[in-house]
């Protein structure tokens, strides 16, 4: 009897150690398909086919057009939360109290600010990358542009109008520089961001903004009244736009709207073809409360 109890005990311990040891609980890593991998390896060896230039620039049309619209928020935005300001309190949040700016809705027009609209792919660009720097400033320990768009290669003058020092850290770009009081430095975004990336200051952790960099510059950020406009778009081709909002419930911040006429997808994309010299107004684009997450 004793021996039996002993062995069953050992058995149990062994069983437990087996289950523990073999790694239950950790998800299995996906297994590759060996045969398919062989096919891919054969396909990626050697030289690339010459890019089909004709297909790339084959889009019809020569002229330019404009797209505009206005985002309104169809819910109750509530009261913005006050930010915890615990550094440099003799300066930060002194001239005006600092609030969470992730959902900025105009009280009278219901306009939703900070919505980013950009073209995913375009065949033609009208103007060269501007040489004049865009200003990205900080004051009262707050970034003055909560959502900021620039063209790849365009100089951005990162300034500090505060009497205290800041650093400006743009996620995904490896840009993180000291900006002394009254100082400034030039930042040239080297590549596209895809969706907007976060901008922070490590000295003052509550400071937050978003930046989006696009090669063709076909990008707009909705203003305080929710309106946006992108000019000089290539006419005569199907353009796909991506829409983003910081608080959007969609994947990667994609803002999905229920607009079948524009083929608006849950990935926050819609398609429009513009005629030469057309100024297309999408009118009022209603953002339901459900499209905005926590």
């Amino acid at each position: 009897m004793i021996a039996m109890r002993f062995t069953s005990c050992v058995f149990l311990v062994l069983l437990a150690s087996c289950c523990g040891g073999c790694g239950q609980g950790r998800l299995a890593s996906p297994r590759p398909d060996d045969e398919a991998a062989k096919t891919i390896r054969a396909a990626i060896g050697g030289a690339s086919a010459a890019a089909d230039v004709a297909a790339e620039s084959g889009a019809a049309g020569t002229g330019w057009a404009t797209l505009k619209g206005r985002f309104v928020f169809a819910g109750d935005p509530g009261q913005p939360k006050a930010l915890v300001v615990d550094k440099d309190t003799e300066v930060c949040g002194k001239s005006s109290k600092l609030y969470d700016r992730s959902l900025r809705v105009d009280s009278s027009s219901k306009g939703l600010a900070g919505v980013v609209v950009f073209v995913r792919k375009s065949s033609r660009v009208k103007s060269a990358v501007p040489e004049t720097p865009l200003v990205f400033d900080q004051k009262n320990c707050e970034f003055l542009s909560p959502v900021f768009a620039a063209r790849v290669g365009q100089p951005v003058d990162v300034k500090n109008s505060d009497p205290v020092g800041h650093n400006t850290n743009v996620a995904g770009t490896s840009f993180n520089q000291l900006i002394p009081s009254g100082g400034s430095t030039i930042f040239k975004p080297a590549g596209e961001t895809g969706m907007p990336v976060m901008v922070t200051c490590n000295i003052h952790p509550w400071m937050k903004a978003y930046a989006v960099f696009r090669k063709d510059g076909y990008v707009a950020v909705s203003a305080g009244d929710g309106s946006f406009q992108i000019a000089d778009l290539p006419a005569g081709e199907m353009l796909e736009f991506q829409v983003w909002h910081e608080r959007s419930a969609g994947p990667n911040g994609a803002l999905g709207l229920d607009k079948a006429d524009l083929k608006w997808t849950p990935k926050g994309r819609f398609q429009v073809k513009l005629q030469e010299d057309e100024v297309k107004d999408l009118g009022t684009l209603e953002v339901p409360a459900a499209a905005i997450g926590t």
Binding site: M1, R26, P30, A36, I40, A43, I44
Partner: protein, 399 residues
């Protein structure tokens, strides 16, 4: 007698069963299948990939990079496959007695087979071992956004990283160190490629039906080449360092550096603290840990319960518990990226990529950076007078 024999008999039988079980257990856990790379499940789950998509990424990576036992280096990577072979596979000697499997012998227990910084010992180390997969390295001679040079990584293997669990590998031969550096680059390029692929699913057009193109144009030209070019261009991105004037008045330079340390221009004091003990900004994270902190928040706020339970399993099994990053205590005289004045110049000029430490480049003059270097180097030895008299701890009050 019979009554005494009986338990013996049973126990012999049971010992047999036990033996069989032990064998079964050993077989279950022990016969190791060939080593395989572990997928970046954090990013794949974050991007809500389907099981088919996760499998496609694994398949593409197998085609482009091979396995931990049999690595492949496409010519576009610029990697030397012979060096990789010396590091790959289990630890063994080849026909001429040359040691093979160097990565698994020296690195994998901390940095993991996949270079994810999650080897078996990782959770017990502070700081955690580097996760190579984002392709971000801290201690280097290049501008902040650029990759480390080959020489930078060789230096780290030679010197180790003081103040961390990373030891020196100076006892390895030059050939072995060269090979390991190549293998670290391989894991890094592979990890960056994986991240890029996983993130590409969101960028797909709807008519792609959720499948990445398996063409050379996409996989090599669009995804791999830009990553490899940044590694191969690192040597051109070295920081230009003006020489410190040979006739510099060291006491004056230290005083100037101190002024800058506490001043608003360099602002070192904000994070490294008025004591310079690294007790200023203490609740920040580096990029690796911040990614997990941010994702935890996202998982906490999500309503899709299936996804949340998967995400929680991934957080438990494929991520280490996030830790804050303390700014360096400058009174220890231990500098992770090396203690030469030149090393400190690099750290201040470019900041530390992946860490909150910002770059002073552009807003602080090169000569002023040298002054800060001189002050930092004086901090562990700061002494200002009478022996046996306690001086205020706060450096600011000591003069």
């Amino acid at each position: 007698m019979h009554r005494q024999d009986s338990p013996m008999k049973v126990s012999t039988n049971q010992a047999g069963i036990l033996l069989a079980l032990v064998v079964a257990v050993c077989a279950g856990c022990g016969t190791t299948p060939p080593a395989s790379f572990r997928a970046n499940l954090v990013e794949a789950t974050k991007q809500r990939l389907t099981p088919d998509q996760e499998r496609q990424v694994a398949t593409i990576l197998l085609a482009m990079f091979g396995t931990p036992d049999d690595p492949v280096a496409l010519p576009e990577t610029g990697l030397d496959e012979a060096k990789l072979k010396l590091c790959a596979g289990p630890v063994r000697s080849d026909i001429v007695g040359r040691k093979n499997g160097l990565y698994r012998e020296h690195c994998a227990h901390c940095h993991g087979i996949s270079g994810d910084g999650m080897g078996p010992t990782a959770a017990f180390l502070n700081p955690y071992p580097r996760d190579y997969r984002p392709g971000v390295f801290k201690f280097k001679s290049t501008e902040r956004a650029d990759k480390p040079t080959h020489g930078d990584l060789v230096r780290i293997l030679h010197n180790g990283i003081p103040g961390t669990s990373m030891p020196s590998f100076a006892l390895l031969s030059a050939v072995q160190v060269e090979a390991l550096v190549e293998y670290v680059k391989y894991l890094s390029i592979r990890g960056e490629t994986e991240l890029a692929l996983v993130r590409q699913y969101f960028e797909l057009d709807d008519d792609a039906q959720g499948k990445l193109p398996e063409t050379r144009e996409f996989l090599v030209d669009e995804v791999l080449t830009p990553i490899a070019e940044r590694w191969n261009g690192a040597a051109d991105a070295r920081i230009a360092v003006p020489e410190m004037p040979a006739d510099i008045d060291m006491m004056a330079s230290i005083a100037k550096g101190r002024e800058l340390f506490y001043g608003d221009k360099a602002n070192c004091v904000k994070c490294h603290g008025v004591t310079a003990l690294g007790d200023g900004q203490a609740n920040d994270y580096d990029d690796w840990n911040k990614a997990i902190v941010e994702w935890r928040k996202e998982v906490g706020g999500d309503k899709d319960s299936d996804w949340v339970s998967k995400a929680n399993r991934v957080l438990a099994g494929d991520a280490l518990r996030p830790r804050t990053i303390p700014p360096r205590n400058l009174r220890h005289g231990i500098y992770r990226g090396g203690r030469r004045p030149l090393d400190l110049y690099y750290r201040i000029h470019a900041g530390i990529n992946g860490a909150p430490m910002p770059a002073a480049k552009g807003t602080v003059d090169p000569q002023d950076i040298w002054h800060i270097v001189n002050y930092i180097r004086s901090l562990p030895y700061e002494f200002d007078g009478e022996l046996g008299v306690d001086r205020p701890m706060v450096a600011k009050d000591r003069f």
